[in-house]
């Protein structure tokens, strides 16, 4: 087969820097110091700001101080509100994870380590804007005050499930809260967000769209279609890539993350890109504000790579100890988003360990109260909407097949 005297080819399959039993090693990653990256004008061309696709926007330094040109100078009340929403998100995750272990639901997905992203972005966007989330943006609903009990009713598929027992737990849907219905098919929502944003521009409105996709799913064609449409029609949309290092058990190198940054994928499409410390509430806030201003002033889309680490398993059906070093999350160089914002507020003299403890207790209490209310309605298998609803809303009106089949079920 091989001709003589020619080199033998070999196939490379990328491997992560550590496997179970290894010490965590992040020496291949580059982190710019807090405050080191400049803040371009929102009117900059993608060409002018190419470097931003490779740098890392950070605001909070190791001492919890906000430094550099990206410091959004938020007032303490906004910071406290953000911290409390992150604490509540984590408490919610913990309880729902336990509820799964207790057999109250079939499935759950935590966002541990990624709370700053959805919370900050959920606080920035207006209620009439539309978010096209993945399954790890529960912080979006929580930061906007969506009732926890409604989230739990969805997770339990109980009689009060707002989407009537039709969706996998955690696949929420709320038009009122700017939360587009979640799809289990990865990446599909990104070009839809672009279409939604195009519609707002077509109508001459002032609403914008925001979407999220994981690092793994950027390999889906939908992501690339979305970038093309967003650039071509200058859609008012923020396109987030949450690079949390892991697509179930496949590390980000399998999605192309070793060859270049995910942010840099925007460059080929003529879109500006920012690469941001996703565990830094202030950096996420500042970058999102920058992209928001760009979108709202009719200058088009921005791609934001949010550099973070998925601390928890992919889902309750996953065991990360089988494919990565057990303590890798604790060693993540960008730390924990909740701790970092807490330290910042304490450094400002606007928060204390005692207040933190109080806030955590309060969050647990809120979640417990919502849990009791939801569980009183029922958990999975103990309660569910009328079976009649199974046949409803397939179409705006039932056709004869659905009527006949519903009668066959006897409802």
């Amino acid at each position: 087969m091989k001709k003589p005297n020619t080199p033998q080819l070999s196939l490379r399959v990328p491997e992560p820097s550590g496997r179970p039993g290894d010490a965590p090693d992040f020496s291949h990653l580059r982190f710019d110091a807090a405050g080191a990256v400049d803040r371009p004008d929102v009117a900059s061309t993608p060409y002018e700001m190419r470097d931003h696709a490779f740098q890392l926007v950070r605001v909070l330094d190791d001492d919890g101080k906000a430094v550099g040109p990206w410091n959004p100078n938020l007032d303490p009340e906004t910071l406290r509100q953000g911290l409390k929403a992150m604490i509540l998100t984590r408490a919610f995750d913990d309880r729902m994870h336990r509820a799964h272990r207790q057999g109250k639901t079939s499935f759950y997905m935590k966002c541990t380590g990624e709370e700053a992203i959805a919370v900050a972005q959920g606080m920035i966007l207006r209620r009439e804007d539309m978010g096209f989330p993945t399954y790890r943006q529960q912080g979006l609903l929580i930061s906007r005050g969506y009732p926890l009990v409604e989230m739990m009713n969805q997770i339990y598929s109980n009689a009060s499930d707002p989407i009537k027992g039709r969706q996998l737990p955690i696949m929420y849907s709320s038009k009122e809260y700017g939360f587009f219905t979640i799809s289990g098919n990865l990446g599909t929502q990104v070009p839809q967000a672009v279409g939604w944003a195009m519609a707002s521009a077509y109508k001459g409105d002032d609403k914008i769209a925001i979407s999220w996709i994981g690092d793994g799913a950027t390999a889906e064609g939908d992501f690339h279609n979305a970038l093309t449409f967003a650039a071509v029609y200058r859609a008012p949309v923020i396109l987030n890539v949450v690079n949390n290092q892991w697509a179930i058990s496949s590390f980000m190198g399998i999605a192309g993350g070793l060859e270049t940054t995910f942010a840099s994928k925007a460059i080929g499409y003529g879109l500006p890109a920012l690469r941001v410390d996703g565990n830094d509430f202030l950096a996420v806030w500042a970058a999102t504000k920058w992209a928001e201003e760009r979108a709202r002033t009719n200058q088009g889309a921005t791609v934001i790579e949010l550099f973070t680490y998925r601390g928890a398993p992919h889902s309750t059906s996953d065991d990360p100890s089988r494919y990565r070093p057990g303590d890798e999350h604790e060693k993540w160089p960008l730390g924990d988003p909740v701790d970092r914002l807490k330290q910042h507020l304490i450094a400002l003299g606007e928060w204390s360990e005692a207040q933190q403890e109080e806030a955590e207790k309060d969050a647990v209490e809120q979640v417990r109260a919502a849990g009791k209310e939801s569980e009183a309605i029922g958990t999975l298998g103990q309660s569910r909407p009328s079976v009649k609803t199974m046949f409803e809303e397939v179409f705006a009106t039932e056709d004869w097949r659905l009527v006949e089949q519903r009668r066959e079920v006897g409802v």
Partner: protein, 355 residues
């Protein structure tokens, strides 16, 4: 025999009645709806300035503006996904997939997303989009310009599938699809764009203007989704067909000299089961004709439905005349394409109690 009046329109037509071919009728439907409703817009590959490779969107950009009718990147998936987002916003986008053979890259967006939005969001989000796509063979298009993928969409909960067979219905049904609150897949039989085609490929195509169905009102009217049309009344056998096969079936019935009732389904989902059931119970026989390959084609579903509902009225096995289970060929198109001769053979076999 052929009448345009036996399936009354749900809204009265307005405007002058003028001869149109199917392309002009579809163009008129879009033009009238875009003039009436600012939420209707149209886009697709080459569908803007140039007006579409088949000219269905001709002049819409010039009449309604650049943002109402525009060109899209060669990304069927992106086109449908953008339409879904627009539909969720409150618009009524009509997108063109240049050939139905190219709809497969958009399949996930149509099947997993558009079809399911209403259901999975508990009715909070809907997808009132129309996906137009020229389909079918008989134009020497080879494998990538001739397929009939309708059955792939009829299997999907949440989609409506509509196929007109003439200019009058094309305009009325497309108008209905645009106004429908659910996602509709609208397949345009491109062999019929310029004139009815009876399947005798050596005969010249007769222009639509000689046909009653080419008398199309210039104003707005709606043909209801879910209503079949009896194209030819008969007593001995019922033929179920749609698109180009309606005309092939009419020619086949004439060629066989059989008193066949020919039903143009017009809408595959939702299906007009009442008209089918009444006809088969009257005639006692059923022949199904479609262009798509036989295996798991929509004919299989129709055959099962007729068997379930009309078994004790049947005097012969249900017959299917379909495309073969091969990819669509180029050089062997007329051996592949179900023509009047095959329809006539099936009718005769059915009349003598089956093969």
């Amino acid at each position: 025999m052929v009448t345009a009046s036996n399936a009354p329109a749900s809204t009265p037509a307005s405007g002058d009645v003028v001869p149109m071919n199917m392309i002009q009728a579809l163009n008129s439907a879009l033009d009238v709806k875009m003039a009436e409703d600012g939420n209707v817009l149209s886009f697709g590959e080459d569908a803007g300035y140039f007006g579409g490779v088949f000219r269905v969107t001709d002049q819409l950009q010039q009449k309604h503006g650049l943002t109402r009718s525009f060109d899209a990147p060669i990304s069927e998936c992106g086109i449908v996904a953008a339409a879904i987002g627009m539909g969720a916003y409150g618009l009524r986008p009509v997108v063109e997939i240049q050939f139905a053979d190219y709809i497969y890259p958009a399949y996930d967006q149509i099947v997993s997303e558009a079809a399911k939005l209403r259901y999975r969001s508990g009715g909070q989000f809907t997808s009132p989009i129309t996906v137009r796509s020229p389909y079918g063979g008989g134009i020497f298009g080879g494998q990538t310009h001739s397929q009939s993928p309708e059955s792939l969409f009829t299997h999907i909960a949440g989609l409506k599938v509509v196929v007109p067979s003439n200019p009058y219905d094309a305009k009325g049904l497309l108008t209905a699809c645009i106004e429908d609150d659910d996602p509709t897949i609208f397949f345009e039989p491109k062999r019929l764009y310029n004139g009815p085609f009876d399947g005798w490929h050596e005969k010249p195509v007769s222009p639509w203007k000689t046909q009653e169905f080419a008398q199309v009102p210039t104003g707005k009217y709606v043909e209801p989704i879910g209503k079949a049309r009896v194209m030819r009344e008969g007593n001995d056998v019922t033929i179920l067909a749609w698109g180009t096969m309606v005309w092939v079936s009419l020619a086949g019935a004439e060629h066989a000299g059989v008193d066949a009732e020919v039903i143009d389904l017009r809408t595959l989902v939702p299906l007009d089961i009442e008209t089918i059931e009444a006809s088969v119970k009257k005639t006692g026989r059923c022949v199904i004709v479609h262009e798509a390959p036989k295996t798991s084609g929509y004919g299989a579903e129709l055959s099962a439905l007729v068997q379930e509902r009309c078994f004790y009225h049947l005097e012969a096995p249900i017959a299917r005349v379909c495309g073969w289970d091969t990819p669509y060929p180029h050089a062997f198109e007329w051996e592949y394409f179900p023509g009047p001769q095959r329809v006539a053979d099936a009718l005769k076999a059915t009349m003598s109690g089956g093969r």
